[in-house]
Subunit: 402 residues, 2 copies
């Protein structure tokens, strides 16, 4: 026997703040099971069922530069420039997914106790990272156009936060897309304060109507900024590639942090992404096809929700991205709903983990529409409505009697 | 003009401790240039010039589990078990290279001011990570069998360090391989203290003689441990894959840290590695061929060094790994040597960055023998000797007169 009594290992204080991602926990509970999952933010695999990856040349087998392949950085920088960002290949870093961009930004800026401002709700894996770095999380409610610029101004004044994290385009989870005016107002507020804007923009290309307004970072005049993107949503998530573009003074420390984190990102993946993104027209067609595919799924989901949830919840129809965000009119036990739903083969994401401050959490649910097939979507929403109605009306037993 | 006067962005204190890797800086200065580089630790690309990667199935395009693919975890765990580690697939995490293992371990254990014990010299990218996490670095000199167990016992007593970082097998940079007895003695010392062993073992398979003794972690009875490996040295570094196996109580927080760092590692790469490592016999043959190839290079390098450096430096012939470690008998200006050598088309690694405490740094040089072709190796060492002799004997101009 090897194991004798061990005292608990001495770990860093930040580990007390360490939470797993609820989404990934649910994903791992549902993996390899025949479950209808509205829980994650996974692309529809049918989009790439016939896709063969380009052959990777042996030159990509060797160690490579920490900042990423020049070809890919140039493509990503050109895209940032086309959105109005003051970007170049020299200020663009290839990351191992936009999640790594969050880790690098947190390392760059956050001390234990650093105030950080974010949206309520916000992206749950970002909340997880900021908590891990022991930041003090302050959040501002979203309305249909974004956070309120005056409230932001006041909170910046009060907290002197060194950083604000926003996901202003087809936000995960709420689907909110900030109006042009609101973006400009927020940029103006940020320019009056000494605060870094961390703008996360993975869903921009998945637009079901007019193209979204330019990034907030494109309107800044003096505020430093970090702009994160991902290829996971529109290309291939398994590649784990994203990018970070930033104002020039932040690039060098971010590059060194990238070196220390994983030396550099997978090179065959960078080669594949460069090949697949190199021709703008091919790429445009591919993304247009993807958007049309997801738009149909969004419309079907809207129809399903309308017939099953319109009496008990309210929501906006998302104009981009991958999620519906339901606000329930009456409170009920969402963890019980999750257990019941999982038992009946359906997964969803409860809203609470998306709120940095629990006082702001309403009774909400995030429902993904990109992954599930049309047939399963109808069945899944019917089961989910059934589960929720059962919990909302504990006295009538009509459902279970059927 | 977008840019107006900006005040310096407010960054975390750890950024003051942020250094780039000297090796990667030299690499990036020498990239795309026709330079003879003894500086990095790059595999010989001729080993894979005819290698075609296995075709990746579309199943690997989707998001995957944070802990890594089961197939790869099982292969890696089996290898750890064969080395005597108390390991299983359940306590094995796929990482984005062993560098990420260092980042995750640092996040798990280090606070600002945490004492950490390491070897002098030690792996420079590990020193970089520990400094970034604001640890207090304490180092113990290596002799030909490793660090001294009594000195370790005393330093653990004095510092109460929560963690020790060791690279006991064909160490980078020194090439030292700890004897079996020393490993057992060190394990016994660690078991008497409440300290986590972080054991980095990327070079184990590159052995030119008898197989090295089992990992120190395999001799532990109660001390918690994290064991890092890499596929970069014997398979394909561009994949950026490594693994971490640990005592069970550390796995859950490390998995959550991995989630927060990059969700999961590149899946096509995991698929490729699983395919290539699946058959032990094929793998054994591939590694044996690689070792024979590198052994010849080591022998050639030894001959070159013997004729050019034996009067001015001492070194051990490495019994594994990728490096010679030269200790010069007289001090001279190594940065001047590096500049001169680069100007003449040769790169090497000065020794100083491998020492956590500068007081311990002698006049040393790390010379890699895996990358450079045999023809270039002779030429490169001749130039390097010429440069060093020029700096060591500034009065005699014999060399430049030839």
């Amino acid at each position: 026997m090897k194991t004798q009594h061990r005292s608990a290992p001495r770990l860093a204080k930040r580990i007390e703040k360490l939470t797993g991602s609820v989404a990934r926990d649910i994903l791992s509970r549902t993996r390899d099971k025949d479950i209808i999952s509205f829980a994650g933010g996974l692309p529809d695999a049918s989009l790439w069922q016939d896709l063969k990856l380009p052959e990777v040349p042996p030159a990509a087998y060797q160690y490579g530069p920490s900042e990423g392949e020049r070809s890919l950085r140039s493509i990503l920088a050109a895209r940032s420039q086309s959105l109005g960002l003051d970007a170049s290949a020299d200020t663009t870093l290839v990351t191992s997914g936009s999640q790594q961009g969050l880790d690098l930004a947190a390392k760059l800026i956050l001390e234990p106790g650093s105030p950080i401002i974010l949206e309520a709700p916000s992206y749950l894996a970002a909340i997880q990272v900021f908590k891990l770095f022991q930041a003090e999380l302050h959040s501002l409610a979203l309305d249909s156009e974004g956070i309120c610029p005056q409230a932001l101004d006041q909170l910046l004044e009060e907290t002197q936060a060194p950083v604000i994290y926003l996901n202003p385009t087809f936000q995960n989870p709420s689907g909110t897309s900030y109006s042009l005016e609101r973006r400009q107002q927020i940029a103006a507020v940020l320019d009056r304060h000494d605060t870094i804007l961390l703008e996360d923009d993975p869903y921009r290309d998945i637009a079901y109507g007019a193209p979204p307004a330019p990034p907030i970072a494109s309107f800044l005049k003096r505020c430093p900024w970090i702009y994160l993107t991902s290829v996971s949503k529109t290309l291939i998530p398994g590649l784990r590639l994203g990018s970070l573009t930033c104002s020039p003074e932040l690039f060098d420390p971010l590059l060194k942090l990238k070196q220390a984190a994983d030396l550099h990102s997978n090179r065959p993946a960078q080669f594949i992404a460069s090949q697949m993104l190199a021709d703008p027209q091919t790429n445009y067609k591919r993304v247009a096809h993807l958007c049309e595919h997801y738009r149909k799924k969004r419309d079907l989901m809207q129809n399903c929700l309308k017939s099953s949830f319109s009496e008990i919840a309210v929501w906006d129809i998302p104009s981009g991205g991958m999620f519906f965000w339901l606000n329930f009119k009456n409170d009920f036990d969402l963890s019980a709903a999750l257990s019941d739903a999982l038992a009946r083969g359906v997964a969803f994401m409860p809203g609470a983990p998306f709120f940095a401050e629990s006082k702001q959490a309403g009774c909400c649910m995030r429902i993904n529409f990109s992954l599930v097939s049309p047939e399963k979507m109808e069945e899944g929403i019917r089961i989910l409505a059934d589960v929720v109605r059962g919990l909302q009306q504990p006295i009538t037993c009509a459902d279970s009697a059927l």
